[in-house]
């Protein structure tokens, strides 16, 4: 039987992997993908919580409505984000995180 715990463990693993990726990877595109993975982890947790939170015997769908918002927002973020990353590539011919270290101190 799959319990809420299973959902949460998977979601937590996803989240951790995403975070680790964000920290460890140098390619900004991949970093960005890891970020999307973290959002998915959150979505999974939301869905899980929602499924196991029964109101009148039915799952509570408010949380699931947030999932839709998250997906939409993520799409918007990707749109803007990729544009910026492209601009970065154009100006530096690189999408390495180490190409943006001018601002410091």
């Amino acid at each position: 039987m799959i319990t809420l715990g299973h959902y949460l463990v998977v979601s937590g693993m996803l989240f951790s992997l995403g975070l680790a990726g964000v920290i460890a990877r140098r390619n900004i595109i991949i970093v960005y993908m890891c970020l999307e993975m973290m959002l998915s982890a959150a979505n999974l947790a939301l869905v899980g919580f929602s499924r196991f939170h029964l109101v009148n015997g039915l799952p509570d769908y408010t949380a699931q409505s947030l999932v839709f918002f998250t997906i939409t927002v993520a799409a918007a973020e990707v749109a803007v984000g990729l544009a910026i990353i492209v601009a970065l590539f154009r100006s530096k011919q690189s999408v390495d995180v180490e190409s943006v270290t001018k601002l410091q101190g």
């Binding site: 989240f15 973290m38 939170h53 947030l66 918007a76 803007v80 990353i85 100006s91 943006v100 601002l103």
Partner: protein, 492 residues
Amino acid sequence: MSVFTIEAGLALLGLALLLLEALKPEISRRTLGLTAIAGTTLALVLFIFAPHDSASQPAFIQPWHQLDSLAIFYKGFALVITILVLWLTLECAPYLTRFTVDGKLAEMFSLPLIVCAGMMWMASARDLVTVFVALELVTVSFYVLVAFARKSAFSLEAGVKYLILGALSTGVLVYGIAWIYGATGTMSFDGIAKALANPATSKTTALFGAAVLLCGLGFKVAAAPFHMWVPDVYQGAPTPVTAFLSVGSKAAGFVVLTRALDAFLVEGSIIGSEIQALLLVVGSLTALLGSLPAMFQTSVKRLLAYSSISHAGYLLLALACRESARFDLSSGGIVAFYLATYLPMTVLGFLGLGLMRANGLGEDIKDFTGLAKRNPLLALLMTLSFASLAGLPLTAGFLGKLFVFLGLADHGYWGALSCAVIAAAAGFYYYFKTILAMYTTEGTDVPALTFSVPAKAVAGALALAILILGVYPKPLQSVLTGKSQAHKVDSK
């Protein structure tokens, strides 16, 4: 006309301007800018005269949208800062356009309107869904704004950093929301408060959720250790955007934080004391981590960024002081008060920077050398702004600090108070360093600086606001107290 209609109208105006610029590229930036300013000003006027009770809102929106005193205050706040930013953009346009791809500024005038609408929604949010959506509306728009001067390597770098770190914080925020929902079974602040006051709720789950959620929000308000993006992004972004970020975005973050904490720290909350302790720790750390590195900065813009971190620390400490029954301002009220005083001094500071930039000067402290000789008025106004940021009495900045100190002392948080005092002391150093540069006259034979009449007028008005708030804060307080009682979450 209901407040919600005004907000929606503002967003629509933003979209319209965006389309207009795309469809009719020949339209001048001045027209665009003035239209945006006029639109926002109209919104402000309408907002002032609109009915300020929730009942006047359209019925469908009421479950997600509330209109208490805090919301009204922050909406007004958002409108004012948007107007100022739009105007500042217009003032800085000549040099900004040098860094944009097509020499145009269209989005710089339309996006702020959308940001403003987002901030206004955020102020009214009753549940986490609304918060999330409004917050992302603001954040995503800011990604564009920060990176807007794409030809400038700094702006682009700032954009990338903001993008990655902002998206990371979004992920953390949503994850936190998920867990809070898991612990309490609801998304609305009222429901969360009710659930947390119920001992049956799982404490560990709630703590976990609240911690992650606060980390996400902490990023938005630049709380340590989530503040690293601030100096880089503030320094890299175009000056008007920096002003917008440091005042508008931060205020929006704090209104959400206030809402969330009202729920988390509700009377009888199972996680209340832990969250409060967390706030004290984070607040103290933020004040210190903002102030200490600031002492070594040579760029005024970056210095102001650190200063804004430090101020965020004070605000967090104010939030930690719940239930200060002895004075009329609740902690949310103190935060609002602080932000209201923070607005004119910060905007004035960035305004000065922008004006100097427009005159072809840099943003380093050494560029300020001899300002008193080159333009005594600007030097005086900037002095006032920095004095207020440093928290010298008889300026607005002092009162905010005083309230924070009062709150901390009232609760006996002596450790946090000491940190705040140390941070303020370090503040004397870096603000005075800049002031000293302005009045130093050695080896400056540079010509006088001149500014437009509206620039003078706006700067003068901001300076006057600093002074008036500093010595006559009564009207502001009555705005906040009259209604801040109402926003308290009814936990019974």
